[in-house]
C-alpha cells in the first residue's frame, strides 16, 4: 500500500476566504501525508478577495486519492464549495525530478561505458571521437568534429615570446552539446528570487507600482544638475560648495566613457547639455518655467541629430550605390531601344562617391568626437594615459563646472560669496592644470603654446600650423579664463560680491591681472601680454600668424555678433581698446547695450566654447589632415550665421559666439551643394560639438542652430530679451567681462595683424601671379576660393576683419582662374585666326571673298563647288590625281553600301529599307516641283478631260437638284395606279422576271421591259419612282432620255465620279472596252430591243451601262465575263490599296 503512494498535487478550489493552511492540512491529512499547502487568493484591484484556492502536495495512494476526491469534491466547507482536481506538479518539483533523473542516468551510463570499454579492451575510436580528444598513438593530433583529425600547432606568441599550443579542436569544429550537464546547475531553490524593494522609480515599476502623477521634469533636472555638479566636484576632488552633493553616480559613467565610446554619446552629452542649459537659462534670470522647453527641445535635438547623422550616412551610401540598390531591388530593368542613360549623373557618381567619402570621413571624425563622451580629452587621456592629460580633462570639466557654478551661484545670491571663493580656488586649480594641458599639447605636436610656436620652423606646413594655432588658442582661452577668474576673485574678495560694476571689474582686472601674470609666468599674465608674447613668437612667419588669426577669429566674431547690436560703436571701441584703454572702454561697451544682452554674457560663452572646443579640435586635427577646410567652413557658416543674426539682433548676441565656434568646427568639405551642405555641416558640427559639450554650451547652440530647434531658440532668444535684473546682469557680466575685455583687445590686435597679413598676402599673390602660378594647384583650393568669393558678401557684416584675407585669397584664386582663362582664350584665338583649310591658297582666298559677301546662312554659304568653275585649271590636276583613288574608294563604298543593303535586307526585315526608299519618293511627290522635268510624270497629261467631266458634273448636279421635285409630284399623282399597272406587267412579263436575281438587275430589267407594256409616257416615270424609290439615279437617267439628247458620257455619269477620282484614264478606257466586250450579252436579247425602239435606239449607248447589270436568260458568257471582270477589278483594287498602304506605312 505504501509503495504506490506518491506525491500528488491537488488543486482545491472554492475555498472560503478565511481558510488557513492548518485547516487544509487537517482536512486532507485524512487521506495522506500533506507535505505542502499553498493558498492563493485572487483579489480584485480594490483588494477585495474574490477567489481563494490552494495547491496541496499530498502523498497519497491512488485509492485514497479517489476517495478524497469523491468525498470532498463539491462539498461545502467553511463557506465555500470545494472543488478538487488533480493539478500539475509544481514546475520546480518537476525540474528537480528531471535533474535527478538525468543525474542518475548519467551516472549509470558512465558506469556502463567504462564497464563496456573495460570489457572490450579496445580503443574504440568512434566512441572517443569527441572534439578535443587526442588521437591515440599520435601525439600532436586531435580529433575534431566529424572525426576529422587536426594537428595541434605550436605557435610563437608575438608579444610574449612564448610558444603557445594551438589546439584546433578548441577553436574550430568545437561544437558541444549543451544541456546534459546536470551536475553543476544552480539548485532549484535558487531559481526563484524576489525583487528586492528599492526606492528608485525603476524598481518600483518593476514591482508594478506606478506613481499616479508624472513627476515634474523640472525637478528631475534639478536633481540631475546637482548630481552633475557633485560629480564634477568629486572629479575635481575638491570641496564643493553645492549643497547636498551625494556621492556621484555620474562620475563613474564619465570614467567609463572612454572605454565604451558608443553608448555614452547618446545620453551623456545630452544629459550634460540639459543640465547646463538649464543652468544657463536659469542664470539668465528667466522664470524656471522656461527651463522645460529648451531642455526638451534639446533632448529631441540630440536624438534627432543622431538620427539625422545616420540618415545622412545612409543617404550618402544610397547615392553611391543607388544604381546597385535599384538593380538589387529589381532583378534588372528593361529599357527601350532609345534608352539614353543619364550619363551626367552616372558619370558624376565617382565625384559623388568622393564627396560622400570625404563626408564620411568627416563624419567619422565627427562621430569620433561624438563617441568621446563629454570630452575628447578623456579619449586623449585614455590614449596617452598620462596623468597630465587626466588633469587636463579634469580641467576642462572644472571649466564647465566653473561657469556653471558661477552662473548658478549668481542665481542663488545667498551663495555668491562662497561661490566666488570657490571659483577662486578653482581658478587656481586651473592655473595648475593649464600648464599640464599646454605641455600635453606640446608633447603631442612638439609645438605647444606660444613659446613653442616661436621655436617652430617656418617651413612647417600649414596644417601643422593650424594645429599649432589651435593649441595656441587653447592656451589663450585658458589664460583668458584664468585671467577672468583672477579678476573675479579679487573683485569679489574685497567687495561684497554682489555689486560688481564693470568699471571696477575692469580695473580689478588690470590691477590683478598683471601681478598674476608676473607671479605665474606665462600662463596667467595679462591678456595683452599674452598676445604680445604670441605675436612675438610669430613675428615673421606669416603662416604662423594665420593660424593665430584663426584662433582669434572666433572670439572676434563673437564680438562682431554683438557688434551687430550696436553697430560700429563696438568696432570703434575695439579699436580704442587697442590703445589699451581697457576699463573705460569696457564700461562704454557695456553701457552701450544695457538693454540688450551684455557683452560679458556673450563673451563667457565664447570663452567657454573656445576653451572647450579646443580639445575637440585636437582630436579632429589628429584625424583630419585637411587644413583648408576650416576656413571654408567658416565662410559658409558665417554667411549662415549672418542670416541667423539678421532676424533678431538680440539672438545674434547669443548666437554670435556660436557662429564663431561653428566655423572652426566645420571640417568637412563640400561646398558644391551649399544648401544641403549647410544642414549637413550643422549636423556635423553638432556631432562634433556635442561630446565636447560637457559644458552644455553646445546644447545651447545646437537647438539654436538646428532648424527644428527654432522654438527653443525662440525661447532662448526671448529669455535673452527679458531685461535682466540689474544686479544679476552685473553678476553675469562680472565673470565674463574681464575675459571679454581681453578678448576684445586680442581681437583688435588680431584685426590689425590680419590686415597686415592681408596686405602681405595680396603682395605675395600678385607676385605669384607675375611668376605664373603652376597649374597643378589642387582643385579644391579653387573651389575654396570660389566659395569664399561667394560667401564674403554674405558674411561681410558679421566679420569685417576677415574680409581682407579672404578677398586676397579669392583674388589670388581668381587670378589663377583668370590666367587659365587667358590661356584658353589665347588658344581659342589661335584657333580663330587659323586659316580654315577650305580658305587656303589662292582659290581659298577667292572663296573667302565670295563667302564674305553673304551672311552666315548655311544655304548661302559658298562652297568649293562655287569655285570649281572658276579655278578649274588649278584643281584639275589635283582632281586628276585624286580622281583615280577617289573613284576607287567611291566604287568600293558603293559596293559596300550595296552589300550593306543586301545584308540588311536579309538580316532585317526587307521592308524597312524599301520603305525608307519609298518614303523618300513619297516626300518627293509631296514636294512637287513644276520646274523639274522628272516631276512631269506626276502631272496629269489629260487636262481637258477632267474639265469636261467637271462641266458635266456640274450639269448633272443641277439636274439632280431640279429633278427630285418633279419626281415627287409624279409619285403623289400616280402611286395608286402603278400597283395595278405593275401587277399587269408582272403577269405579262413573267418570263422576264425569272432571270433577275439581284435587285439592281431587276431594276434595269424593269426599265427595259417597261416600253413593252407601258404606252403611257406619263406613267412611266412614276413607275420608275416606285420601283426605285430611293435611287435618284433612275430619275436622272429617266431625265436624260426624256431630254433625248444622245450623250456619250452616260457611262461616266455612273462610273466617272468614282473612277476618275481614284484611278487613271486608262482604266476607264479598259472598262469601256470591257463594256463593249460585254456587248455580246446584249445580243442575246435582240427581240426586246426592237420593241423598245420608242425609247431606246438599237445601239443606244446608254444601254452600255445597263449591260453591266444585264444578264441574259441563259447567258453563261456574260456571267463569266462579269465574274472575270469583277475579279480583275478586285485584284486591281487590292493592289492599289496595298500599294497605297505600303507607301503610307514607312512614313
Amino acid at each position: 500500500m505504501k509503495a504506490n503512494r506518491e506525491v500528488k498535487r491537488l488543486f482545491v478550489g472554492g475555498l472560503g476566504q478565511n481558510i488557513s493552511k492548518a485547516d487544509l492540512q487537517n482536512q486532507f491529512s485524512r487521506f495522506g501525508e500533506v507535505s505542502d499547502v499553498e493558498i492563493i487568493t485572487r483579489k480584485d484591484d480594490k483588494g477585495n478577495p474574490q477567489k481563494v484556492f490552494a495547491y496541496i502536495n499530498i502523498r497519497v495512494s491512488e485509492a485514497d486519492l479517489h476517495k478524497c476526491m469523491s468525498v470532498l469534491n463539491k462539498t461545502k466547507w467553511k463557506g465555500g464549495t470545494l472543488q478538487i482536481q488533480l493539478a500539475k506538479e509544481s514546475f520546480l518539483h518537476r525540474l528537480a525530478q528531471e535533474r535527478e533523473a538525468a543525474k542518475a542516468k548519467k551516472e549509470k551510463s558512465a558506469i556502463g561505458n567504462t564497464s563496456f570499454l573495460e570489457k572490450m579492451g579496445v580503443v574504440d575510436f568512434h566512441v572517443k571521437a569527441v572534439p578535443g580528444t587526442e588521437v591515440p598513438g599520435h601525439k600532436n593530433w586531435v580529433v575534431s568534429k566529424f572525426g576529422r583529425v587536426l594537428p595541434v600547432l605550436h605557435l610563437k606568441n608575438q608579444h610574449k615570446r612564448k610558444i603557445m599550443k594551438y589546439d584546433p579542436s578548441k577553436y574550430c569544429h568545437n561544437l558541444k552539446k549543451i544541456g546534459d550537464d546536470v551536475t553543476n546547475v544552480t539548485p532549484v531553490s535558487h531559481l526563484t528570487w524576489e525583487l528586492e524593494g528599492g526606492d528608485d522609480p525603476m524598481s518600483k515599476k518593476r514591482r508594478g507600482e506606478f506613481c499616479a502623477a508624472h513627476s515634474s521634469p523640472r525637478k528631475r533636472i534639478k536633481m540631475q544638475k546637482d548630481e552633475v555638479s557633485a560629480a564634477f566636484a568629486a572629479a575635481r576632488a575638491r570641496p564643493s560648495r553645492v549643497p547636498g552633493s551625494p556621492p556621484p553616480p555620474r562620475q563613474g559613467e564619465a570614467q567609463e566613457t572612454p572605454c565604451d565610446p558608443v553608448t555614452p554619446t547618446l545620453h551623456v552629452p545630452a544629459s550634460h547639455s540639459q543640465k547646463l542649459e538649464n543652468v544657463f537659462v536659469q542664470t539668465s534670470g528667466v522664470g524656471t518655467t522656461r527651463n522645460r522647453n529648451p531642455m526638451s527641445d534639446d533632448d529631441t535635438d540630440s536624438e534627432e541629430e543622431i538620427r539625422l547623422l545616420i540618415a545622412r550616412e545612409e543617404s550618402l551610401e544610397k547615392t553611391v550605390w543607388s544604381s546597385v540598390d535599384e538593380s538589387a531591388n529589381e532583378p534588372f530593368e528593361v529599357v527601350r531601344g532609345d534608352f539614353k542613360p543619364d550619363v551626367h549623373t552616372l558619370r558624376s557618381f565617382p565625384g559623388l562617391g568622393d564627396a560622400s567619402c570625404l563626408a564620411g570621413e568627416d563624419e567619422v571624425t565627427g562621430t569620433d568626437c561624438n563617441y568621446d563622451s563629454g570630452d575628447t580629452d578623456e579619449i586623449i587621456a585614455a590614449k596617452k594615459k598620462s596623468s597630465k592629460v587626466k588633469s587636463r580633462t579634469e580641467f576642462s570639466q572644472t571649466e564647465m563646472s566653473d561657469h556653471k557654478k558661477a552662473l548658478k551661484n549668481i542665481k542663488n545670491w545667498e551663495l555668491s560669496d562662497h561661490c566666488v571663493a570657490a571659483q577662486k580656488g578653482k581658478t587656481n586649480m586651473e592655473l595648475a592644470v593649464s600648464p599640464g594641458a599646454t605641455s600635453h599639447s606640446s608633447s603631442s605636436r612638439g609645438v605647444g603654446s606660444a613659446s613653442e610656436s616661436t621655436g617652430s620652423e617656418e617651413d612647417e606646413e600649414y596644417s601643422a600650423l593650424m594645429k599649432n594655432c589651435l593649441r595656441v588658442r587653447l592656451t589663450l582661452s585658458d589664460l583668458e579664463q584664468l585671467a577672468g577668474g583672477d579678476l573675479q576673485a579679487p573683485g569679489q574678495d574685497p567687495g561684497s560680491g554682489d555689486q560688481k560694476i564693470p568699471a571696477k571689474c575692469g580695473r580689478a582686472s588690470k590691477s590683478q591681472g598683471t601681478p598674476g601674470g608676473l607671479c605665474r609666468g606665462r600662463q596667467c599674465i595679462h591678456p595683452e601680454e599674452i598676445v604680445a608674447a604670441l605675436l612675438e613668437g610669430e613675428e615673421n612667419t606669416n603662416e604662423k600668424q594665420k593660424p593665430n588669426e584663426n584662433s582669434l577669429k572666433p572670439k572676434f566674431q563673437a564680438f562682431k555678433g554683438v557688434g551687430c547690436l550696436y553697430g560700429k560703436e563696438s568696432v570703434k571701441t575695439l579699436k580704442e581698446r587697442v590703445a589699451s584703454d581697457n576699463t573705460n572702454e569696457d564700461q562704454n561697451s557695456l553701457k552701450l547695450d544695457p538693454s540688450s544682452l551684455s557683452v560679458a554674457k556673450g563673451s563667457p560663452y565664447a570663452n567657454v566654447s573656445s576653451s572647450e572646443l579646443t580639445p575637440l579640435q585636437h582630436a579632429k586635427k589628429a584625424s583630419d589632415p585637411n587644413q583648408k577646410q576650416p576656413e571654408k567652413r567658416q565662410s559658409t557658416f558665417e554667411s549662415e550665421d549672418h542670416k541667423m543674426v539678421s532676424p533678431s539682433s538680440l539672438e545674434s548676441g547669443n548666437r554670435s559666439p556660436t557662429s564663431s565656434l561653428l566655423p572652426l568646427k566645420r571640417k568637412s568639405l563640400s561646398l558644391h551643394v551649399k544648401t544641403s551642405k549647410v544642414g549637413f555641416d550643422k549636423d556635423c558640427c553638432h556631432g562634433t560639438r556635442k561630446p565636447g559639450e560637457g559644458s552644455g554650451r553646445n546644447s545651447l547652440l545646437a537647438p539654436a542652430e538646428a532648424p527644428e530647434g527654432s522654438s527653443s531658440r525662440a525661447a532662448w532668444g526671448s529669455s535673452a530679451d527679458v531685461p535682466l535684473p540689474v544686479s544679476s546682469r552685473a553678476a553675469v557680466r562680472a565673470p565674463g567681462k574681464p575675459a571679454d575685455d581681453n578678448e576684445k583687445r586680442l581681437a583688435a590686435l588680431e584685426q590689425r595683424w590680419r590686415a597686415k597679413e592681408a596686405r602681405k598676402q595680396l603682395v605675395r599673390d600678385a607676385l605669384a601671379d607675375l611668376d605664373g602660378r603652376p597649374e597643378d594647384k589642387p582643385t579644391h583650393i579653387i573651389f575654396d576660393s570660389d566659395s569664399d568669393a561667394e560667401e564674403t558678401p554674405a558674411g561681410e557684416q558679421s566679420r569685417r576683419g576677415e574680409e581682407p584675407v579672404k578677398e586676397a585669397r579669392s583674388r589670388a584664386s581668381g587670378k589663377l582662374f583668370d590666367s587659365e582663362d587667358e590661356e584658353s582664350g589665347s588658344e581659342d584665338d589661335s584657333h580663330r585666326f587659323r586659316i580654315k583649310p577650305q580658305f587656303e591658297g589662292r582659290a581659298g582666298r577667292k572663296l573667302m571673298d565670295l563667302q564674305s559677301h553673304f551672311g552666315t546662312d548655311d544655304r548661302f554659304r559658298m562652297d568649293s563647288r562655287f569655285l570649281e568653275s572658276d579655278s578649274e585649271e588649278e584643281q584639275e590636276e589635283e582632281n586628276d590625281r585624286r580622281t583615280a583613288e577617289q573613284e576607287e574608294l567611291a566604287a568600293e563604298t558603293l559596293k559596300a553600301l550595296n552589300i550593306v543593303q543586301s545584308v540588311l535586307r536579309t538580316s532585317l526585315s526587307g521592308s524597312t529599307h524599301k520603305g525608307s526608299v519609298a518614303a523618300k519618293e513619297f516626300k518627293d511627290v509631296i514636294h512637287y516641283d513644276p520646274t523639274r522635268h522628272d516631276h512631269a510624270s506626276y502631272e496629269r497629261k489629260t487636262d481637258d478631260k477632267p474639265k469636261e467631266s467637271k462641266a458635266k458634273r456640274r450639269k448633272k448636279r443641277e439636274e439632280a437638284e431640279k429633278l427630285p421635285e418633279v419626281s415627287k409630284e409624279m409619285y403623289y399623282n400616280v402611286a395608286a395606279d402603278l400597283k395595278e399597272i405593275f401587277q399587269t406587267t408582272k403577269v405579262t412579263s413573267e418570263t422576264a422576271d425569272e432571270t433577275p436575281s439581284s435587285e439592281n438587275h431587276h431594276g434595269e430589267k424593269v426599265k427595259v421591259q417597261k416600253p413593252t407594256t407601258l404606252t403611257n409616257g406619263a406613267e412611266q416615270p412614276g413607275g420608275f419612282t416606285f420601283s426605285f424609290f430611293d435611287s435618284d439615279a433612275k430619275d436622272v437617267k429617266e431625265d436624260t432620255y426624256r431630254v433625248e439628247t444622245v450623250r456619250t458620257g452616260t457611262v461616266f455619269w455612273q462610273g466617272a465620279p468614282r473612277v476618275q477620282d481614284s484611278s487613271s484614264e486608262e482604266e476607264d478606257v479598259t472598262e469601256e472596252t470591257e463594256d463593249n466586250e460585254a456587248g455580246p450579252g446584249e445580243v442575246s436579247v435582240p427581240e426586246k430591243e426592237t420593241t423598245r425602239f420608242f425609247f431606246f435606239s438599237k445601239n443606244d449607248e446608254r444601254l452600255h451601262g445597263c449591260d453591266l447589270f444585264w444578264r441574259g436568260v441563259g447567258s453563261g458568257i456574260s456571267r463569266n465575263s462579269w465574274e472575270a471582270r469583277t475579279n480583275n477589278l478586285r485584284i486591281d483594287c487590292r493592289k492599289k490599296h496595298k500599294d497605297a498602304k505600303r507607301r503610307v506605312k514607312p512614313k
Partner: protein
C-alpha cells in the same frame, strides 16, 4: 592589305549588322570622311582614307596594322569581331545590356553574363541578338550575344546565362598580343 571581296564584306557586314543593325550604313558611308575596310593578315581594318594613303607606303609584310581592327576572318572564313571595334560599334548599338558592378569583373574576365548580373536590358532584344555590354555607369564593356530574349530573361533563374560573352575590354590585357 587589300579591299575585302564581296563575300568577305558580306560576311563581315552580316556580323556587324547583328550589333548595330542598319546603323552599319553610317559606318560605311560616313559624313566626316571616307572610311573603308581593308583586309590585312586576315584581319579587317577600318581605315580612314588618309591613313589608308599613308599605310600604302608600307610594305605589306612590314605593316602590322592600320586604322582600327574590326575583327578577323577565321580559317573557315567566318568573321570574328574584335574588342577594338567596340569604340566604333558601341555608339550605334541597337541592343544593349547593362551589367551590375558586381558582375562587371566577371564579364571582363571573359565569362558570360548571368541573370544575376544583368542590370538592364534593351526592351525588345531577341534571342541570339548581338548586344553591346555596358556597365551601369554606361561604359561599354564589350560584345555579347543575348542568350535569352528579354522576355525570357524575366523568367529564367538568376544563375542562367543571359548574355554570351563575345569580346570584352579585358582582352586588351588578356590578349594583348593578338589584338592589333
Amino acid at each position: 592589305m587589300r579591299p575585302l571581296t564581296e563575300e568577305e564584306t558580306r560576311v563581315m557586314f552580316e556580323k556587324i549588322a547583328k550589333y548595330i543593325g542598319e546603323n552599319l550604313q553610317l559606318l560605311v558611308d560616313r559624313p566626316d570622311g571616307t572610311y573603308c575596310f581593308r583586309l590585312h593578315n586576315d584581319r579587317v581594318y577600318y581605315v580612314s582614307e588618309k591613313i589608308l594613303k599613308l599605310a600604302a607606303n608600307i610594305s605589306g609584310d612590314k605593316l602590322v596594322s592600320l586604322g582600327t581592327c574590326f575583327g578577323k576572318f577565321t580559317k573557315t572564313h567566318k568573321f570574328r569581331l574584335h574588342i577594338t571595334a567596340l569604340d566604333y560599334l558601341a555608339p550605334y548599338a541597337k541592343y544593349k545590356v547593362w551589367i551590375k558592378p558586381g558582375a562587371e569583373q566577371s564579364f571582363l574576365y571573359g565569362n558570360h553574363v548571368l541573370k544575376s548580373g544583368l542590370g538592364r536590358i534593351t526592351e525588345s532584344t531577341c534571342q541570339y541578338q548581338g548586344v553591346v555590354v555596358y556597365s551601369m555607369a554606361d561604359v561599354p564593356l564589350g560584345f555579347g550575344v543575348a542568350a535569352k530574349s528579354t522576355q525570357d530573361c524575366r523568367k529564367v533563374d538568376p544563375m542562367a546565362i543571359v548574355v554570351f560573352h563575345q569580346a570584352d575590354i579585358g582582352e586588351y590585357v588578356r590578349h594583348e598580343e593578338t589584338l592589333t
